[in-house]
């Protein structure tokens, strides 16, 4: 355990940023937190979480895959990938940190996604334990401890200082590179801070939310559940929940005709969209009920089925705060679990 006095915080950021690009949550022009590159003068946001999740670093909303150029009958193919540089993301919360493992289970299994893998290898994740969780938080439901987040380095804020613990080799290397700014940390202070946070977590309105009624082996029971009709009834079919979600992992590959060639890019896709998984024969899910059901079945049943019971949700609460009609995974879980 190491300690960084908050008086030295800017020196710490400067030292990290001198070696690799450092990203951290910063308030934007409308006062909402988003990850931005640290430069001298940039102040870290005190917001609990960013509007967009940290998955953007490993799975960006759009990325160019390759380009084609046509001249007469010949087609040239260009690899447009740029060499990924080392970077550090600072201030990732426990929920987002847990989402990386979920993305890994999709992108790092055979066939490995080399674009994703490269970014994962070059990124160092510094997490920040929560001290003021919001009433929309429910990470505990999925066994995530907001007071003890994963990541390469974990940070706790205790009176006037950060306590830092390296969890991996990458994390140790990062702390070693700024060793002259650090002092010995205090395990007891961290334990006290954790106890405080856990006491708040236990009192949150969603603290009692359980995964009862969903999970492994529930496909048959839940697929034709009558509640899907009323749950999905007012869904707008927009992609807000999907795009603010740290674990949504689906993408589309598209060709953009530049006039004399093709830019092939991939972009986030949403199972809420009418053309999602549209194939030659048409679309396999023609109603919003089916699309809505897909999103929640994927997170609460199909994914756990294939991943030893791990759920595809980390309880960050972004969809609760952002859905235009306030329909969300908590309401779905409560209804399917017979609590609503």
């Amino acid at each position: 355990m190491k300690k960084l006095s908050l008086a030295k915080l800017n020196d710490f950021f400067a030292a990290v940023a001198a070696k690799e690009t450092l990203y951290l949550p910063v308030n934007n022009n409308v006062g909402k937190a988003e990850y931005k590159k640290w430069e001298s003068g940039v102040e870290m946001s005190s917001a609990l979480n960013t509007v967009r999740s940290a998955k953007d670093f490993f799975f960006p909303q759009t990325e160019n895959l390759m380009e084609f150029k046509m001249t007469g009958k010949s087609v040239e193919v260009f690899d447009t990938r740029e060499e990924c540089e080392d970077f550090v993301i600072f201030g990732v919360r426990a929920c987002d940190a847990a989402s990386f493992a979920i993305l890994d289970s999709v992108y790092l299994v055979d066939p490995v996604d080399s674009y994703y893998k490269s970014r994962r290898e070059h990124g160092t994740v510094v997490t920040m334990a929560c001290s003021k969780p919001a009433e929309t938080c429910f990470c505990g439901t999925f066994g995530i401890d907001a007071a003890n987040p994963a990541g390469d380095v974990t940070v706790w804020e205790v009176e006037g200082a950060y306590m830092l613990r390296a969890n991996t080799e990458k994390g140790e290397a990062l702390l070693a590179s700024v060793a002259d700014l650090l002092e010995d940390g205090c395990e007891k202070c961290v334990e006290e801070a954790q106890a405080k946070t856990r006491a708040i977590l236990a009192k949150l309105p969603l603290a009692g939310l359980t995964t009862e009624g969903v999970g492994v082996g529930k496909t048959k029971e839940l697929f034709d559940h009558p509640a899907w009709a009323s749950l999905s009834e007012s869904c707008l079919g927009c992609g807000t929940c999907t795009f603010v979600c740290p674990t949504c992992q689906c993408y589309d590959v598209r060709d953009f005709d530049t006039g004399n060639g093709i830019k092939r890019f991939r972009c986030w896709d949403s199972c809420m969209y009418s053309d999602f998984t549209k194939m030659a024969h048409g679309n396999s899910r023609n109603s919003q009920l089916e699309r809505f059901r897909q999103r929640f079945m994927h997170k609460l049943v199909y994914y756990p089925d294939r991943n030893d019971g791990t759920f595809g949700c980390v309880g960050c609460g972004r969809c609760l705060a952002r859905c235009p009609i306030s329909m969300n995974i908590v309401k779905v879980m409560k209804t399917l679990g017979g609590k609503n």
Partner: protein, 323 residues
Amino acid sequence: MQKMMEKRALELLGDGTVNRVLGWSAGDFIYDVTPAVFKTAEEVQDKFLYNDFCGANLSKYLVKESRKEGKILVFLKPCDTYSFNQLIAEHRIIRENIYAIGVECFGKADEEKLRAKGITGITGIEMKDGTYTVHTVYGDETVKAYEVMADRCLSCKSKKHVAYDELLGSEGEVVEDCNRFDMVEKLEAMTPDERYEFWRGELSRCIRCNACRNICPACTCEQCVFDNPNSGVSQKAAVNSFEENMFHIIRAFHVAGRCTDCGECSRVCPQHIPLHLLNRKFIKDVNTFYGEYQAGENPEAKPPLGKYEKNDIEPGEAGGAKA
């Protein structure tokens, strides 16, 4: 108000005037209210809610709901009645299948503004004489209504119900001196470069979730051009920022003269992009060039952009900044 609404909903369901009720359904927190169709008295008694967080405009749901069997009861706030009328004018909803009850509205609270003031754990809210009393798990808080009211309500254009079968509360009046064009005027006063910077700063946050389009009561095309894979424009994340700008600009053009300024687009934007400003610029221009016109005020009125008159302004006369 909620009690009166619930009573009328139960009566109209009970006597068979309607077979469904379109309203707002209670959630886990007092502010996470979901639009819902109630089919039975039990459902109404169990979940029906009307409070200071019921901002969602229900009129667009009628495009689908008014085509189902039987009559549906809908509760409309003043601004919702303008959207309702506009949808009638565009033949998008079937009026005879709807029983509309107008409900008073003095502005809706913005939960995020409350949160920004450090008020969390909200369990109840009441407004009296311009002040909210907010009940929270940590005790009661009082706050001036204008400090935590939704932005769109602070520049409310009308508290008048322009369409209804029945009213609960007063009919209300048009707000004569609303300040809704203040920001548009500021933008007009900018140089083209400044304005471009402003809009790039705002629109670059767009995540193409399409919430603005999908909530918009003026966006009721069976298939949007952005959902057509053969249109050459993308519904999802764009390949470049040009397309991202164009999505919003094209949408604003498409709803020009039809947008009632209900403000739903900005309410639902997860990135807090002030999309209503694009629409308000068009509303202001229509007022300037074709005379005062409020979409949705009168479903019989000829829309200024949908008719031709000999003395209509020529494109060259409209002015506008030179780039």
